[in-house]
Symmetry: C2
Subunit: 235 residues, 2 copies
Amino acid sequence: MTQPTSAVKTPPRRNDATRARNEQAILTAAERIFARHGYRGASVQAIAEAAELPKSNVLYYMGSKQALYVRLLARMMKRWNALLDDISVEDDPAEVLTAFIERKMQLSRRHPEGSRLFAAEILGGAPFLQEYLHGELREWVEGRARVFEQWAERGLMDPVNPVWLIFLIWSSTQHYADFEAQVLGITGKDALDDADTEEITAFLTRVVLKGCGVQSRQKAPPERKMPSYSVRNDA
Amino acid sequence: MTQPTSAVKTPPRRNDATRARNEQAILTAAERIFARHGYRGASVQAIAEAAELPKSNVLYYMGSKQALYVRLLARMMKRWNALLDDISVEDDPAEVLTAFIERKMQLSRRHPEGSRLFAAEILGGAPFLQEYLHGELREWVEGRARVFEQWAERGLMDPVNPVWLIFLIWSSTQHYADFEAQVLGITGKDALDDADTEEITAFLTRVVLKGCGVQSRQKAPPERKMPSYSVRNDA
DNA sequence: TATGTTCCTGACCATTTGGTCAACATGTGA
DNA sequence: TCACATGTTGACCAAATGGTCAGGAACATA
């Protein structure tokens, strides 16, 4: 179904489109199955069926169940790392934390299956991610923590334990992907839409900033929208 | 559990201690295995080995893998329900929220395997807990939400969306059980001790109360214990 | 001791598991 | 056209899966 542009010379590649398409189908299907059942609980057969391919074909492309799983984890960690940008003491605390929460929330929203895959891996004791957690990620946390502490010293925020703060942001955002079934069950919704996500992001930002006494460096608050929760209230 | 305790005929008491001991061993082992690998990924053989019993014995006591799993879920929901006490508008917001956070934190700390079992169930789409989530739990949340709203109307706290607030507390406390591997990897600790738990509880309480502008009604300060905040701040 | 109930477990079964492989299909460049 | 690489997949395998069952062990009451 791929229409070759006759005018442009086709690249000397082989049947590359098929490969890409099949790999994509497998990765997407596998992410869902692994997220739902964990590494052990997922079967190659189930992944193959979800990808609408024979089991042999899945193994042909991915080599083995473990290789497929590791590849998915790596892809998710890459997405994760993409939002781990660097910050400095000179930055504005309110801005940084706001951006942090918003990006993390978007990651969970844009890649819910990936988020759940990651969660399942950690839940099972992180057998494949030990090194990452103890190395790269730990160093990143420590770097941020130092900045938070310096902000606190300069009176730009309360002297809270920065590691607990980072965990608070991670957990409260991650929740909406990992515990989606619970969230939907309790709210009675079929799915969370963009408006819900914005409202939740605003709520979390508000509580974290206010709760940690974060000062803005008198830059204008970059609010385009103000989805405040409405309560019949009159004073 | 269904012991007819017939007063007429022989009370069929027997070697009851053995039964209790074996069942306990199985439940403990199974909770760990299910938490680690999810329902599908856990094997009866693995549970049997962890309980140091033959596989047949596990099936003899529990009937089936599914019955065992359901029983564990029920046990965890019972623990969970134990901290879902009722509240009213007349209560003190600060007290209620503080107690809520503390109890939830203790639940995660006292039953980490159970917490992870629950998390794995939700992560997999809550196939066995749909009813509970849509029914009992949802009603409880709505009840609390109404109280929070009334508090907000009376100016005792900010008018935040109470459901997001409840999720915030659930997620941020649950995190320390479910993502233990990540927490330990990043902090470099072997385990979180009581002091850590108290510090985290204090941090979360502080951020939530301050972040939601929760007012205390100047009732008497906490009853038995006073978890000292390691952070002192401006009034 | 006799009798009945519960406890215990190795042997077994049908099914599913991850993975291999040979055979064939479909291209691709000469 | 040929030769060769890549794509595709059903058949197959040893191991593990959840579960059954027969039959013996242990125990309690009579």
